[in-house]
Subunit: 275 residues, 2 copies
């Protein structure tokens, strides 16, 4: 593991590391914010999953989350959104291939060799963080857009690992919208019943454990009607009596200006469940 | 004037505009954050000048300043750092030409036709902001690195226009350091006595009016010893009995992670003087 960046930030350290991923079979970057803490003190870990086209940089440069992570003494980890590199399959489009791993374990050629982002986040990266940083091994997960989808799916499928789940502008039902259908067809194949393990709306209706979920959605988000469809999550949660807090924010769009405006409330939410 | 961007942010609006500058003889972008405010309410204006290589985007995406501007009800304006465009002279280096206007009025060919950033900031942009936005016409100025130099020089030379001055990691004595010597030789010519109007350390020692100045400087800043030299500002202020607050911040570097960590205190400082 190689440290690429280290910056003082709100009394702690914003760092970026590169490591060789066994699961993804390529070199991967991740960023980590480590608040000021006492020697031997262990801190909870909050994962952030970014959306299409992003890498480990977007969240740490634009969200302004370090201030609140420092206040609440929680580690923030933001991985890249897909395997990377010249040897990794890619696609010319922004919504498939590198930058668009969709947090699934691909089963289809040519993607299955590298595109195992679900296992990377749930197992390999978590193990790495717990081994090398002052982690208390208590964690929660959040994300944005395709990363909001990732946070919901990974959180819901691993209630023993993640105390709480939150998302900004998530793709809540990828099986039903263009971004998800395209990605799932490529990564998982045509058989739609195999998509349900990666679809939050399906998982909500089939799950038994109920972690708290917080979702913020901007009402001027240009992807709202075609790709995000928060009403599908609301309906699924109603049917299953699932505890969802959904904030519809008038005037806000899909950008990091929206995330920055409400990241404090998401970090507060998680920290209430990370104690 | 054309609006290029508009994003809801902390209850207000982060916008980006393009306009034709008469002073710079090219199209220019600037960004403006307008807090939520009552109809007909006028707000003070705080200018931010960015450093080398930056444009109107860096501050608004990375500094996290909107939260505090919203709290204190102050408009934030961040211009570009130089004239721009194919018809504007440029240099291959990052520290001369486009992205490196140094906030001077150039007198030397080929720069003098467009590189009039001092007049652009002090006159043209300010007049435009006051005419088109809810400005109370009370303003202060701050900046980073070469923009910290710009804020100090523009503030000190116009005590009637700017209530207070602050800077992160400023070039305090451009006449004495490589970045400044290179830029001033190109823009202003070899005669060093003509540089003093654009050198904060010289202006401090020749001025009479004393606006409050706040400077933050990271102690792990890689430009500290060769380019920034805050001790020259400290000495000049001591000689002139000038009220300087200088915070030396252990561990911090030259990046926006440093700025984000302390921008709240700078906005508080200015707002105390903008009432």
């Amino acid at each position: 593991m190689e440290r690429l960046e280290r910056h003082a930030s709100f009394g702690g350290w914003q760092e970026v590391y590169k490591h060789q991923s066994d699961v993804l079979k390529c070199a991967m970057n991740f960023s980590i914010y480590i608040p000021e803490h006492d020697l031997n003190e262990k801190l909870p870990v909050l994962y952030w999953l970014s959306g299409l086209t992003c890498n480990e940089q977007n969240f740490i440069t634009k969200a302004g989350a370090q201030k609140y992570a420092a206040q609440h003494k929680v580690i923030l980890v933001a991985p890249d959104t897909s395997p990377r590199g010249d040897a990794v399959p890619d696609d010319g489009a922004y919504d498939l291939g590198q930058g668009a791993g969709f947090y699934v374990n691909a089963t289809q050629a040519p993607w299955s060799e590298n595109y195992q982002m679900y296992d990377y986040i749930v197992h390999e990266l978590r193990t790495l963080i717990d081994a090398h940083f002052p982690s208390s091994r208590v964690q929660s997960i959040m994300g944005h857009s395709a990363g909001g989808h990732g946070a919901l799916v990974i959180g819901l499928r691993n209630p023993d690992l993640y105390q709480s789940i939150s998302a900004f502008s998530p793709i809540v039902a990828p099986s039903q919208v263009p971004w998800g259908k395209k990605a799932f067809t490529a990564y998982l194949g045509e058989e739609q019943s195999l998509w349900h393990n990666y679809d939050a709306v399906e998982l909500i209706q089939s799950g038994t454990v109920k972690q708290p979920i917080l979702v913020d959605q901007g009402m001027e988000d240009s992807f709202l009607e075609a790709q995000l469809k928060p009403e599908l999550l609301v309906n699924a949660c109603k049917k299953s009596d699932y505890p969802l807090t959904l904030n519809l924010r008038a005037g806000y769009d899909h950008s990091y200006y929206f995330i920055a405006s409400f990241i404090e409330t998401h970090i507060q939410f998680h920290c209430a469940h990370l104690k």
